[in-house]
Symmetry: C2
Subunit: 507 residues, 2 copies
Amino acid sequence: MAGREQKKSGGGGKKKEVKKETGLGLSFTKDENFGEWYSEVVVNGEMIEYYDISGCYILRPWAISIWENMQTFFDAEIKKMKVKNCYFPLFVSPGVLQKEKDHIEGFAPEVAWVTKSGESDLEVPIAIRPTSETVMYPYYSKWIRGHRDLPLKLNQWCNVVRWEFSHPTPFIRSREFLWQEGHTAFATKEEADTEVLQILELYRRIYEEFLAIPVIKGRKSELEKFAGGLYTTSVEAFIPNTGRGIQGATSHCLGQNFAKMFEINFENEKGEKAMVWQNSWAYSTRTIGVMVMVHGDDKGLVLPPKVAAVQVIVIPVPYKDADTQGIFDACAATVASLSEAGISAEADLRDNYSPGWKYSDWEMKGVPLRIEIGPRDLANNQVRAVRRDNGAKTDISRVFLVEQVKGMLDKIQQNLFDVAKQKRDACVEVVKTWDEFVTALGQKKMILAPWCDEEDVEKDVKARTKGEMGAAKSLCTPFEQPELPEGTKCFASGKPAKKWTYWGRSY
Amino acid sequence: MAGREQKKSGGGGKKKEVKKETGLGLSFTKDENFGEWYSEVVVNGEMIEYYDISGCYILRPWAISIWENMQTFFDAEIKKMKVKNCYFPLFVSPGVLQKEKDHIEGFAPEVAWVTKSGESDLEVPIAIRPTSETVMYPYYSKWIRGHRDLPLKLNQWCNVVRWEFSHPTPFIRSREFLWQEGHTAFATKEEADTEVLQILELYRRIYEEFLAIPVIKGRKSELEKFAGGLYTTSVEAFIPNTGRGIQGATSHCLGQNFAKMFEINFENEKGEKAMVWQNSWAYSTRTIGVMVMVHGDDKGLVLPPKVAAVQVIVIPVPYKDADTQGIFDACAATVASLSEAGISAEADLRDNYSPGWKYSDWEMKGVPLRIEIGPRDLANNQVRAVRRDNGAKTDISRVFLVEQVKGMLDKIQQNLFDVAKQKRDACVEVVKTWDEFVTALGQKKMILAPWCDEEDVEKDVKARTKGEMGAAKSLCTPFEQPELPEGTKCFASGKPAKKWTYWGRSY
């Protein structure tokens, strides 16, 4: 998907604002031109501003508030797990960065290097972290000495830089992004294995409970796993419009590979020298992009209530001879009641826009519920509620305002998930042969196929599906495995199949 | 103050742990060798680990938890002021960075440049933000068009990089640090002026109410103000041991200088084109360093209760024939009662350390209150509370545990402030002549002197006091001005004095 990079010009143009004031909304539809639609909706919804450096984006308050809502949840959950926050430097010296061979091979092409400060050349170029395994682990080696120092569980909220050249896309693929990265060390593999899944479950909850996006939990293939790790688990989402899978978040068991390279040893309870087992896990601002892609529509963003900065927007609808002050007061009272009940509500009392213009404006920004208050509502002591997800209109007595609004927000949250799941499920195709696979791929499906689990076969699938749209690859082997009848053959190699695995094009 | 850079070696040595286990505590005293003491206490208190890139430091959980406590306060306060969080890129293109001449002159020598990604040279070198005025303001120009778009109030929590070469010191002067930076734009100078002081008051509260450090609110001289701004206000702290002032946080009115350069115009209510008035304001992880310097002692860190991750540490003191299980249960019950009351309490039940060793350990880490529970305490249904700030011991009946502990934590918070203020005040010296000034400077004082407020005179003071310890400069002109009798002369130039100003050496 091509980002609309021509929009990136800093400072100058004021095109967007002009368009907005004419009330034209989006120039592209989600179904007809998904790429342009996405670029436009993140800008017009005021989440993103294109920046004058390609692949870097400004995250506006509307996006950051979603990030903060997820962060509040996740940070509290990991603190319950005794994970502690810390902050390691942005910079890595080349020596440590290159210590783990597979790891650096995976990241080297994307590493940004600082070589100068002021007018002077640095003695040694210094890398900017693409991820912090090599930044942190020399110190894990220093801090961990005995079994009592374990487990060590650290996390940091920070920015990382991966200077990618392919298709920069806001949130989804950017040269700098925000994330959390957890890095933990255990005495035993069992503890590490357990934590990998605990964290993965939190990632599932972020997607399913907060962002209302169905995901599949599973394990990555050897080819797709984290560079230098033992195995990678992930939650995988799917974008029906492009027919591409998207890795939502990853929880890696690093095994002992990094421990070996960085000499992270400890004396175990028997007094013997042992090596730690490590995990690392991360989710990033990519989550927000997936949310926009899954829920957004031709009117703009659609925000799930649990992450929306504003859950309810209250709009006065005055008429010529009506009691305008009374309507404004009712709006203020409505906001006050909802706010008191812990619902994030705001009134839009701007006097230079019509109610209709405001409806479009807040629809573009994706606010889950709109409340309109006009003369008739005032007379009947009611408000009119309009759902962003399906446009349904309901008159609510002001007597039952809070409970009704709460109920509607819950329903919107659930409905967004249900609709997204229905659409996602409709894209899943079970195939057993190469021909079926190719057909399904052409139909932009997320393909579940029996696989022999051989790396060369995956490479072969990639090679055979290469083309303008990008090659297919394995997305994950789901933990929930359908029955695999004896004698089932791999869709690609014809060898005996070992597991069901999801395949498709991906971001 | 020289940071102990020889300690920076990554990964290898395990000196500290060994020393800790022998219970030796700190090798340096605060009064005899402040610089070494500071370097040691931030490491042994587990706030900092030296990193293998000079001037970069690892902020360990013990430091980050303090940062988070301040952040929770400040973030909520600015949100009440309708400031919204956002995130702008780490990278700046050279064109915009150099747009404001004075500004770039101030920062250019410290800017780190990315010139390569992977193996390829970038077409144009890209700067890493030393601060974000030039990153943000081209977009302020885009977003602000009419008076209804004002005020625009944004803030971001992020890292910035200033590649300084002089005296790197953990927290105080590091090449990368964490901060918040607020950037606001208003229609009128009055609104900007008002906000400058509102924010400065929040900074005062961070120092005085949270970190228990007295600060002086005032205005910076023309020579010391923010590069490119109109005027700078600050809260200034003082480190008695080194006799140096330290800028605690700054709230700048940028005037219209940046607005002119970046063309941040709007149509005012009369339909005329006008230029915005801007502020920027920031506080950083430096706050934590000031806290360590002011409160720490020869036993280690001393944390004010309002920012401490652990406010109360509960330590069992079992005896040979005592009811060990009973003591452990009492410890657990104590932690439970305190936690339930919103006090952050933990029990140290490690079985491989003696109570005495644990006392030293938690004293090193600066926990405000220690609770000991031994057989006698168990028998009397009491606990023994020991204050970190003054060592005072009190037996508390378990019946009144929560209210007594709350009271003690409040007293500790207040006492830390009072003691710090007493020490700071004892360092303030009022002088009227150059000779008095030189004498006071030699005595490491914070000097209040009548000044003519001329830039050349400040330059002259700097030149005349140059030496091994660094030159003196103006710290701030305090808002609270003592009376300035008619005819008072400037301490340095003999010209008519215009105001009282603080002078001294500084960080």
